[in-house]
C-alpha cells in the first residue's frame, strides 16, 4: 500500500508540501486556543449523538485541520502542550500532538485507550501521506478506513525501525 501511495500523482509528504514560512502573523492566544478546543469538544458531542457510521470523520477532520495549521507555524508540540495545560491535563515531554488534542477535546476518561490509539495512528498516517486538497474521510476510506490506515502506519513504523 505504501508503494502505491508513493506512486500517486502529486503525492508529497506534509513536510514538503507546506511552506513553513507562511506564518500568517495573527496572534494565537490562550483564549483562541481554548475556543478551538471547545469547538472540537462540541463536534465530538454532536458525533456521539449521531448514529451515522461516518459521523466520526467530521471530528477527525477538525482535529487534523487544527494540527495542520499549527504545523505550518511550526508550533505543534508547544501548542499541543498548551492545549493539555489549558484543559488541566498534564503536559508531557514527547507528546504526540494528535493524542494531546484528543485528550484535551474529549475528557480522557471518556475515550477508550484503544480508540484513541486507532484515531491517532490513522491521523498520523494521513498527515504523512494525504495529498493536499484531498478530503480526509475520502483518503482514509481509500486506504481501508481507520483500521486500514492504522495498520499501514504501524507497518511503516516497523519498517523504519528495522531500516528496511
Amino acid at each position: 500500500m505504501i508503494e502505491k501511495l508513493a506512486n500517486l500523482p502529486g503525492h508529497r509528504t506534509i513536510g514538503k508540501e507546506i511552506d513553513y514560512s507562511r506564518h500568517c502573523g495573527v496572534r494565537y492566544g490562550d483564549a483562541a486556543l481554548a475556543q478551538d478546543i471547545k469547538r472540537l469538544h462540541r463536534i465530538w458531542r454532536n458525533v456521539q449523538s449521531d448514529r451515522h457510521r461516518s459521523a466520526i470523520y467530521k471530528f477527525l477532520t477538525a482535529v487534523f485541520e487544527l494540527i495542520e495549521w499549527w504545523r505550518v507555524e511550526r508550533l505543534v508540540i508547544c501548542r499541543a502542550n498548551r492545549a493539555l495545560a489549558l484543559t488541566g491535563s498534564r503536559a508531557i515531554d514527547r507528546c504526540d500532538p494528535f493524542s494531546a488534542v484528543f485528550v484535551a477535546a474529549i475528557a480522557p476518561r471518556k475515550l477508550e485507550r484503544r480508540k484513541l490509539s486507532k484515531y491517532t495512528r490513522a491521523l498520523r498516517f494521513a498527515a504523512a501521506h494525504k495529498p493536499p486538497g484531498k478530503r480526509l474521510d475520502r483518503f482514509i476510506k481509500k486506504y481501508g478506513g481507520l483500521n486500514g490506515c492504522g495498520s499501514e502506519f504501524a507497518k511503516q513504523r516497523r519498517r523504519s525501525r528495522h531500516g528496511g
Binding site: R22, R27, A31, P132
Partner: protein, 82 residues
C-alpha cells in the same frame, strides 16, 4: 499581508473594520484585519485552516453562523413587535 477568508467571515470582518478604523485611524489595513481576526478567533467565531496552496485561510465557525442566525431571529421578532 493578504488574508484569505470565506464570504461570511469577510463580510463581518469588513463590517467590523469600518467601525474599528474610526477608533484607531493610525492602524494599517493589515494590522486592522489581523486584530479583528484575532478578536473573532478568541470569541470562537473564526478558525484557521491550511488551504490547498499551503497558505493559511480563515473561515467562519458554526458558532458564528448560529449566533448570526439568533441575532437575525431576534431582529425579526422585534420587527413583529413594532
Amino acid at each position: 499581508m493578504q488574508y484569505h477568508m470565506d464570504k461570511t467571515l469577510r463580510f463581518w470582518v469588513e463590517h467590523e473594520a469600518e467601525s474599528t478604523k474610526r477608533k484607531f485611524p493610525n492602524l494599517s489595513q493589515s494590522q486592522l484585519i489581523a486584530s479583528i481576526l484575532c478578536e473573532f478567533e478568541s470569541a470562537g467565531h473564526a478558525n484557521r485552516f491550511v488551504r490547498k496552496d499551503g497558505k493559511i485561510g480563515w473561515r467562519a465557525t458554526d458558532k458564528m453562523r448560529e449566533d448570526l442566525f439568533e441575532q437575525e431571529q431576534a431582529a425579526l421578532d422585534n420587527d413583529d413587535d413594532d
